[in-house]
Amino acid sequence: MLFTAKTRSIAIAALLLAPGSTLLAETPEERGLAIAIEGDKRDQGYVDSTANMKMILRNRAGKESTRNVRIKSLEVTGDGDKSLSIFDEPADVKGTTSLTWSHSEKPDEQWLYLPALKRVKRISSKNKSGPFMGSEFAFEDIGSQEVDKYTYKYLRDEDFESAKTFVMERYPTDKNSGYTKQVVWIEQDRYIALKLEFYDRKGSLLKTLVSSDFQQYLDKFWRPSTLEMTNHQSGKSTTLVFSDYQFQTGLKSSDFSKNALKKQ
C-alpha cells in the first residue's frame, strides 16, 4: 500500500547489498545515532522548499475542521533550518505568519506576525509543545528534526507494512519537551520515518504519527504527502496533506527574517 512496486524492489535490492555494513560492534546508542545522522545526511542539499499544507482536524465524534497553511523552508548548513508558515484559513487568521529558526544546540526561536495588529511577536522559547493551531501536532512535532535535538537508542529491525525498518527510541534533550520518549520506525533503504510514537511525561503512549504517500523530488528527497496523527488519550486526530512541493525556488535568508514577516 505504502510503496509502489518499484520502491519495493529497490528495498529488496538495498537489503541484498546492505549486510555487513551495519553489523560492526557498536552500542545501541551509537547505532541509533548513526541511523539519525545517515537520515539527516540523505536530506542535505535540498536548499529550500515550499508546499501547501492542509490540516484536517477531527474530534472524538469524527467531525472535521480544515485549516490551510503555506510552508516555506530554508536549509541552513551548520545549524537548524528556518521556516515560515503562512496561514490562509480560517479567514480570521489569514495572513498570520510564523517564523521559526531551528537550532541544533540552543532552543529554537519563533515569531508570529499578526496582521490585525500589524506587529511581530516573539513566542516564548520554552513553550513549543502546545498544540499547533488546535491540532494534535505540537510545534515540536512539525519543526525541523535536527540530529542534536535527541539522543538515540537502536532497538531492533522490524517489518512495518511490508517495509524493512529500523526501530529506535529517541529522547528529547530539551527539558521543555512534552515527551519523555519517541519510538521511530525508519525505513531502511530510504531512511525516512514511517511511524513515530510519542510518549508523555508519565511514559504513556500519547500519540502515533504515520507518514505515507512518499514522493521523491529532484530524484533525491522523499517527502510524505500525508501525515496522520492520532491522539490515543483524547481520541482526536489530525491529518496533514501536503501538495504542490517545490524545491530550490530561490528563497533567500532575508526572506526568513523578522522584517520579512510583515511582507508576507
Binding site: 480560517p90 496582521p115 495588529l117 511577536k121 516564548s124 513553550n127 488546535g134 483524547s234
Partner: protein, 774 residues
C-alpha cells in the same frame, strides 16, 4: 401432592441436604465474578437526557474526570518559599499520575504579561527557592488578581491552594482505575508530608468520589452484614427459643445470600452501593420464611406430634402462604427494574432472586435439615398468646374509636407527604465517616465547591467564538453569573480575551476589555495557543473548530431544589438577554438534580404494575374480589404514612425513596396475606363470626407477624446505618413502613372488617354463608 412431596422429602432428607449444598455451591461460585463499579455515571440509564447532554459536552471538550488536592500550610500562608516549593514539586509529580492529561496549579498557571513589545506566557512560579520576600509579596498580589485562580485554585485569603489533575480515563479495567490513581496520589501526598510536615492535604474530585463508592460498600460489608446477622440471630434465638431452629435459619440465610450473589455474578452484574445492600435485604427476608415454617413446626410438636409429622404438617400449612408472600415480595423487588437508575434494577433483581432461593430453601432444605437435627420442643409461651388475645379484644372492643383515631392519623400523615422535598446532593450520599466526605466538605469550606454547571456556548459557526458579538454576550453572561449569590467562581473564555487584550497593549489596564475585532481576537488566540506549554492548552475550553466555548460556573453546596431554581433563573436570563447563546446547563450536579423526579415517574409505572399483580394474586388466593380490594388499604397506607412521618422528622427525600413504595409493597403485603387468609379460613371453614375470626387470626398468625416484623425492622434498621445515604434512607423508610404495616394490620384492618360487616348486615342479607374450602 404436598403430602407425597413431604413424604419423600423426609425419607430422602440426606439426599435433599446434599443436593442443596451442591447447587448452592455451584450458584455461589459465581460470586468470584462480581466486581464493584467505580463510576458515578452508573446511576443514570443510557437514555437519561441529562447524562447524554453531559456526555456530548465531554465529547466536545476534555472530560471532567478530575482529582483536586488542597494544600493547607500550618501558618496559613501559601506565599512562602516552602509552600511554593511544595506546590511546584507536587505539580511536577502530579504529571506522573496514571491517566492524567492535565495538571493545573498555582505554580504552572500560565501567567501572561507584556515584556517590551512581546507577549510573555510563562509559569507563574519559577524556581520558588530563590524568591525574596518582596518577590513573594508581588507574586501574591499577581495571583490574587487572577480571576481564573481565586476561588478555584487559591482561596481569597491565600491560606490554602489547590492542584487539579484532569484525567482521560480508559474504558478497559475501568473499575480498577480510580484505585490505581488514588493510590498514586496518596503516595505522592505522603511524600510531600514527609518533606513538608507543616502542610496538610485533602483531596476530592470525581475520581476520588468514584473510589468512595466501593469504599463505602466495603465499609458497610464489614460492619453491617455481620451486625445484621448478629442482631437477627439473637432476635431469632430470643423469640423462638430454639438453638437448632436458629442454626437452621442461619444456614438458610447464608445459602440464600451466597446463591443470590453468585447468580448475580453469573449474570455479569456489577455491584453498586445500592445493589451491594442486597445481602442485608435477602438475609432479612429469608428469616421471615424460616420463622413461619419453624413457628408452626414447634406449635405442632408442642401439641404432641412426632417430629417428622410436625415437619410435614408445617410444610403443608405454610407452603402456600410462604409461596405467596415470596411471590409478592419478588414482584415488588422486580418492579424496581422500572427505575430510571440502573443500580436499582440490580438491587431489585438480586433481591428477588434471593427471595425465590429463600423460599425454595425454607420448604425444601430447612424441613430436611430439621429432620436430621436433634430439635427439642422449645418451652411454651402462653404469655404471648395471651397478649395476642388481648390485642384482638382491644381491636374488637374499641373498633369505632380505632377506626376514627387511626383513620385520622392515616389521613393526617398522608396529607404531609407533599411537604417532602426532593434532594440529591450527591456528596452527601456519603456520610462523614468516609474520608471522601470529610475532605470534600473541608475543601468546599476553604477553597472551592464540588458542584458545578457547564454551559457549552455555541457560536454556531466555525471560528465564531472570535466574533465581538459572541464575546460580548459571553462576557455579559459571565458577569451576570458572577453576581449571583449561588456562584463561587466562573471560568469563561471572555476573561482570557480581556487579559490578552491588556497584555497586547503593554499591560495597560484601560485595555482590560474584549478585543472589538474578529481578526484581532482570532490572532490573539492563535498567538496565545502557540505560547502554551504541553498539556495546558485550551482544548478544555474551546471546541476543535472554534465554534463553541465551555463556561463553567462553580456553585456553593446547594440542595437540589435550589440547583433547579438556579438553572431556571439562568435559562430565563439567557432567553431575555442572550437568546442566541441559549443552552442547557450540564453537569453531574444537574444530572443528580433530576434523578429523583425521573425515578419517581419511572417507578410510578413499576409500582402500579406491581400493585395490580399483587392485588390480583391476593384476590385469587383469598378467592374474593372484595377482600382483594380491601387489602389495598393495609398494603398501600403504610408507605403513605411512612412518607408523612418522614416529612415531619426529615423532610428531605432522595433517589432511594422512589423505590421504597414498590419494595415495601411486596413485603407488607405478606402481613395482609397471612392475616386475611387466617381470618377467611376461620369464617369459611369454621363458620366463625367476624369477631371470632379476628381472634382466630390474631391467635394463629399474630405472633408470627409480630416476630417477622421485629426481625425485618431490625434488619432494615441495620441497613439504615449504612455509610451510603441512599441505602440508609431506604433502610429507615422501609423499617418505618413495615412497623406501620403491622400497626395497620392489628388496629385498623380488624376494625375495618367489623365495620364493613356491620354495614353489610344492616343493608343486606347476611353474606356469612361459609364457603367450603380444601
Amino acid at each position: 401432592m404436598l403430602e407425597k412431596y413431604m413424604y419423600w422429602l423426609v425419607k430422602l432428607r440426606w439426599f435433599a441436604i446434599l443436593i442443596t449444598i451442591v447447587t448452592v455451591g455451584l450458584l455461589g461460585s459465581g460470586g468470584r465474578l462480581l466486581s464493584f463499579t467505580t463510576d458515578y455515571e452508573v446511576f443514570f440509564g443510557d437514555s437519561n437526557p441529562q447524562l447524554t447532554t453531559f456526555q456530548d459536552l465531554q465529547e466536545v471538550y476534555t472530560k471532567n474526570d478530575n482529582a483536586l488536592i488542597m494544600l493547607s500550610p500550618a501558618d496559613g500562608a501559601v506565599f512562602t518559599t516552602e509552600t511554593l516549593q511544595a506546590i511546584a514539586e507536587l505539580t511536577e509529580e502530579a504529571w506522573n499520575t496514571p491517566y492524567s492529561s492535565r495538571v493545573d496549579s498555582l505554580s504552572n498557571f500560565q501567567y501572561t504579561y507584556a515584556e517590551e513589545d512581546d507577549l510573555t506566557v510563562e509559569d507563574l512560579i519559577n524556581d520558588p527557592a530563590s524568591l525574596s520576600d518582596d518577590e513573594l509579596k508581588k507574586l501574591k498580589e499577581i495571583a490574587l488578581a487572577q480571576p481564573l485562580l481565586v476561588n478555584r485554585l487559591l482561596s481569597p485569603a491565600a491560606d490554602v491552594t489547590g492542584i487539579n489533575i484532569t484525567f482521560e480515563l480508559p474504558t478497559e479495567n475501568a473499575n480498577e482505575v480510580p484505585f490505581e490513581i488514588m493510590e498514586h496520589i496518596d503516595q505522592m501526598l505522603l511524600d510531600i508530608k514527609t518533606r513538608y510536615p507543616n502542610i496538610s492535604t485533602a483531596k476530592t474530585g470525581v475520581v476520588a468520589m468514584n473510589k468512595a463508592f466501593p469504599e463505602s460498600t466495603f465499609k458497610d460489608a464489614k460492619t453491617l452484614i455481620p451486625a445484621a446477622f448478629a442482631i437477627i440471630l439473637i432476635g431469632f434465638m430470643v423469640l423462638t427459643r430454639s438453638l437448632w431452629g436458629t442454626v437452621g435459619a442461619l444456614i438458610v440465610m447464608l445459602m440464600s445470600i451466597m446463591a443470590a450473589m453468585g447468580t448475580a455474578g453469573w449474570m455479569g452484574i456489577i455491584l453498586t452501593p445500592p445493589s451491594a445492600s442486597a445481602p442485608t435485604l435477602i438475609l432479612t427476608l429469608a428469616v421471615a420464611d424460616c420463622v413461619h415454617f419453624l413457628i408452626t413446626f414447634f406449635q405442632q410438636m408442642r401439641s404432641g406430634k412426632e417430629k417428622n409429622q410436625a415437619i410435614r404438617e408445617s410444610v403443608r400449612l405454610n407452603f402456600s402462604p410462604i409461596f405467596l408472600t415470596s411471590l409478592t415480595t419478588a414482584i415488588g423487588f422486580l418492579s424496581m427494574n422500572f427505575s430510571d437508575s440502573p443500580p436499582f434494577h440490580d438491587l431489585g433483581t438480586i433481591t428477588a432472586i434471593g427471595v425465590v432461593y429463600a423460599f425454595v430453601l425454607s420448604i425444601f432444605f430447612l424441613p430436611a435439615l430439621m429432620s436430621v437435627l436433634p430439635v427439642k420442643v422449645p418451652a411454651n409461651r402462653k404469655a404471648e398468646s395471651g397478649l395476642m388475645n388481648m390485642l384482638a379484644n382491644l381491636s374488637i372492643k374499641y373498633y369505632r374509636a380505632l377506626l376514627v383515631v387511626v383513620g385520622v392519623l392515616i389521613v393526617g400523615l398522608i396529607a404531609m407527604v407533599p411537604s417532602n422535598e426532593l434532594n440529591d446532593e450527591f456528596v452527601k450520599y456519603f456520610d462523614d465517616s468516609l474520608e471522601f466526605r470529610q475532605d470534600t466538605d473541608l475543601i468546599g469550606e476553604k477553597l472551592t465547591g464540588m458542584y458545578f454547571i457547564d454551559y457549552s456556548i455555541d457560536a454556531k459557526l466555525a471560528s465564531g467564538i472570535n466574533s465581538p458579538d459572541y464575546l460580548q454576550q459571553l462576557e455579559s453572561f459571565e458577569y451576570w453569573l458572577q453576581s449571583q449569590p449561588e456562584v463561587i467562581h466562573v471560568n469563561a473564555l471572555s476573561e482570557t480575551f480581556r487579559r490578552l487584550n491588556k497584555n497586547m497593549h503593554g499591560d495597560d489596564s484601560d485595555f482590560y476589555k474584549l478585543p472589538n475585532d474578529k481578526e484581532l481576537a482570532a490572532q490573539y488566540l492563535l498567538l496565545y495557543e502557540m505560547s502554551l506549554p504541553f498539556g495546558l492548552d485550551l482544548n478544555n475550553q474551546i471546541n476543535f473548530d472554534k465554534s463553541a466555548t465551555r463556561l463553567t460556573a462553580t456553585l456553593q453546596n446547594l440542595p437540589t431544589k435550589d440547583v433547579l431554581a438556579f438553572e431556571d433563573k439562568v435559562q430565563a436570563w439567557m432567553s431575555n438577554n442572550t437568546p442566541s447563546l441559549e443552552t442547557a446547563g450540564s453537569s453531574p450536579t444537574i444530572m443528580f438534580s433530576h434523578i429523583s423526579k425521573r425515578n419517581i415517574s419511572s417507578m410510578l409505572a413499576g409500582t402500579t404494575i406491581a400493585l395490580v399483580l399483587i392485588s390480583l394474586i391476593l384476590m385469587i388466593s383469598l378467592r374474593s374480589f372484595k377482600y382483594g380490594l380491601l387489602s389495598l388499604i393495609p398494603n398501600l397506607v403504610p408507605a403513605g404514612m411512612a412518607f408523612g412521618i418522614w416529612a415531619i422528622f426529615n423532610g428531605q427525600v432522595g433517589l432511594s425513596v422512589s423505590v421504597v413504595v414498590a419494595m415495601t409493597l411486596g413485603i407488607v403485603v405478606d402481613d395482609t396475606i397471612h392475616f386475611l387468609s387466617k381470618y377467611l379460613r376461620a369464617r369459611r371453614e369454621q363458620g366463625l363470626n367476624t369477631e371470632d375470626a379476628i381472634r382466630y387470626a390474631f391467635n394463629t398468625v399474630g405472633e408470627a407477624l409480630f416476630i417477622t416484623t421485629v426481625i425485618l425492622t431490625a434488619g432494615f434498621m441495620i441497613l439504615a446505618q449504612s455509610s451510603f445515604a441512599i441505602n440508609a434512607d431506604m433502610g429507615l423508610m422501609t423499617a418505618i413502613t413495615i412497623c406501620l404495616a403491622l400497626f395497620i394490620d392489628f388496629f385498623f384492618l380488624p376494625p375495618l372488617l367489623i365495620w364493613l360487616d356491620k354495614r353489610q348486615s344492616k343493608s343486606a342479607e347476611p353474606s356469612g354463608t361459609p364457603h367450603p374450602v380444601n
